[in-house]
């Protein structure tokens, strides 16, 4: 019995070792993604391209309360970019690695399973931050955005944290969908949801019915939160958005855990 207890203690990870594992996982995940241009380029370039086209080039007209379009779209395309990074990094990559047995090998190792998911989330947040800084640079240099640093900084913090609910959504898709269907499912959800949530065209420029539907979509709530520092949102209280996104996160995580359990009984990893 004594031997057994000793054994347990010797194999329990120290805090330092746990941190080392999380760090190594994150580093590898980041390197892996950066070396895959097919992932990193669309994630960064699409929001920037859309923003340049619709925000900077066509950004003469004024919408919202005192914000011109280039400033307004900084928040909504920022949200668009953040959601893309989360869905593709989580949804698609979890599904693919599950099919390849990489996850299986990790599961059989002593790696704490949280390190795998934490690494993917941190990388999503890093990509979110890069997307937003990229858009803000474009806005400040080419788009004539005049907002102060504190406004832009709070928008950045809000949007980067806003990636978390969509990481949960990506996790759910990654575990509910097979390795081959996950990319298609993410695309089918991502683009229409972004449009219907007013991330491409301001929500008050859309028909009234769509505005009402938008309230059920998580992307709408993130977009509205991103617009708050500009004072350009529709005016719903902050807590409504936060409560919605929190509930959405909980539902997605619960679904993901159920799908994960079901998955354990299937033949592939």
């Amino acid at each position: 019995m004594i031997a057994a207890t000793d054994d347990l203690q010797s194999t329990r990870f120290s805090l330092g070792q746990t941190a080392a594992i999380y760090l190594a996982e994150t580093r590898c995940e980041l390197l892996k993604v950066l070396r895959m241009p097919s992932y990193s380029i669309p994630t960064l370039a699409f929001p920037a391209m859309f923003y340049l086209l619709f925000g900077v080039v066509m950004g003469k007209a004024t919408v919202g309360a005192g914000s011109d379009l280039a400033t307004y779209l900084l928040a909504t395309y920022g949200a668009f970019g953040v959601i893309g990074a989360a869905l593709f990094n989580f949804g698609v990559s979890v599904a693919i690695e599950r099919g390849q047995g990489w996850m299986l090998l990790k599961k059989a190792s002593p790696m704490p399973v949280g390190a795998y998911f934490a690494a993917k989330m941190i990388v999503s947040l890093i990509f979110s931050l890069i997307v937003i800084l990229l858009l803000q640079t474009l806005g400040l240099t080419l788009g004539g955005v005049t907002e102060g640093l504190s406004v832009l900084a709070s928008m950045t913090v809000i949007l980067v944290l806003g990636a978390i609910p969509f990481c949960a959504m990506g996790l759910l898709i990654g575990y509910a969908a097979g390795p081959n269907s996950a990319p298609a499912i993410v695309n089918i959800i991502y683009l229409p949801m972004a449009f219907a949530s007013g991330l491409w065209i301001p929500i008050n420029a859309l028909p009234d019915l769509m505005g009402r539907i938008a309230r059920f979509l998580p992307a709408y709530h993130l977009g509205q939160l991103g617009l708050k520092p500009l004072g350009a949102d529709i005016g719903d209280p902050v807590w409504q958005h936060v409560v919605y996104l929190t509930l959405f996160t909980v539902v997605c995580l619960t679904g993901a855990v159920l799908a994960y359990r079901l998955d354990e009984d299937k033949t592939y990893g």
């Binding site: 594992i21 590898c28 892996k32 190792s109 009984d265």
Partner: protein, 314 residues
């Protein structure tokens, strides 16, 4: 005064383990104990339940019934996982990470990993350290999978079809690596569907068929059980009579010729000649070891059905 010590728990202990996938029973109430310091081969045709058994032992799958223990611990416990290494059949690793990045990642999972240079050397990955996984050949990928499986210097190593799809030379060098691990006192469980491989490597062979143990013993015992002679002759003796004789594994008509697989050809021929003096065209030959192994894992019922049907035709 002597301390009372408990006998060390076996590396692997399966008790009454069953696993079903929807309609297919992969394992049926399996009892299996793997002894320490030995190479055990789990041998069987595709679909025999080998990979399922490995996944249950690794705690990746949960059994529907029965219990799985590694070193007396649940296979999912960190203690068990730290002492265990695994080389799985299809594990494509991220294509955009290098050999050394993957090795270093796995080394962080263990408190006392093997040295990086030692792993590279054991697995024969010299000069490949900076190469991306996606650019490795099949054999090199397999060698990297082997390096990852021994990162933690495990006491127990699972290898699921470690040499499938490898060329002869790479396969031999794998055998060498497995032997040298065994010499260092590691317990190794490997699955294979090559009798030759199991024979070359193992102290013990467990033949799995339809999720149950069909034979279990040293390679010598398994080979003698599986080794067969083939008798062919034209005779009036019916296949079901022949099947009733001792040591007869199968008996069926091949056109007009009765074909018998058995262990003791002489005694069977003697009986046949006693019962049918008109017996003719007698041939006795050895059946290949792989053929014989196939007879061990083939369905007797199918052979019997065949022979009855053939007999009706005859």
């Amino acid at each position: 005064m002597r301390l009372i010590t408990q006998p060390a728990a076996a590396p692997v202990e399966l008790t009454g383990v069953s696993k079903r996938y929807e309609k297919v029973t992969a394992l049926d109430s399996l009892d299996l104990t793997i002894e320490a310091g030995k190479v055990t081969s789990v041998l069987g045709p595709n679909g025999a339940g080998k990979t399922t058994a490995i996944k249950l032992m690794l705690g990746i799958l949960r059994p529907d019934a029965g219990s799985v223990q590694l070193f007396g611990l649940p296979p999912t416990s960190r203690s068990a996982r730290t002492r265990t290494g695994a080389m799985m059949q299809i594990s494509a690793l991220p294509a955009t990470l290098t050999v050394i990045e993957l090795i270093d990642l796995f080394r962080t999972y263990y408190a006392q990993p093997l040295e990086r240079s030692e792993l590279v050397e054991i697995a024969g990955l010299q000069d490949l350290e900076r190469r991306l996984y996606g650019k490795l050949s099949g054999g090199q990928k397999q060698r990297l999978a082997f390096a990852l499986s021994i990162c933690g210097n495990p006491d127990l190593l699972f290898m699921d079809e470690p040499t499938v799809g490898l060329d002869v030379e790479t396969r031999r060098s794998f055998w060498q690596s497995i032997r040298s691990l065994a010499q260092r006192g590691k317990s190794i469980v490997l699955t294979t569907h090559y009798l030759e491989e199991a024979d070359a490597l193992s102290d013990r062979i467990v033949v799995l068929h339809h999720g149950a143990i069909r034979a279990d013993g040293t390679p010598h015992q398994i080979k003698s059980e599986a080794s067969s002679r083939r008798i062919r002759c034209v005779t009036l003796v019916r296949p079901d009579e022949v099947l009733a004789l001792e040591g007869v594994r199968s008996a069926r008509f091949d056109r007009a010729v009765l074909e018998i697989l058995c262990s003791d050809a002489e005694s069977v021929v003697r009986t046949l000649l006693d019962r049918d003096p008109g017996l003719r065209d007698l041939e006795i030959g050895g059946a290949g070891i792989e053929d014989a192994f196939m007879s061990l894992t083939s369905d007797d019922t199918v052979n019997q059905n065949n022979s009855t049907r053939q007999q009706e035709v005859a």
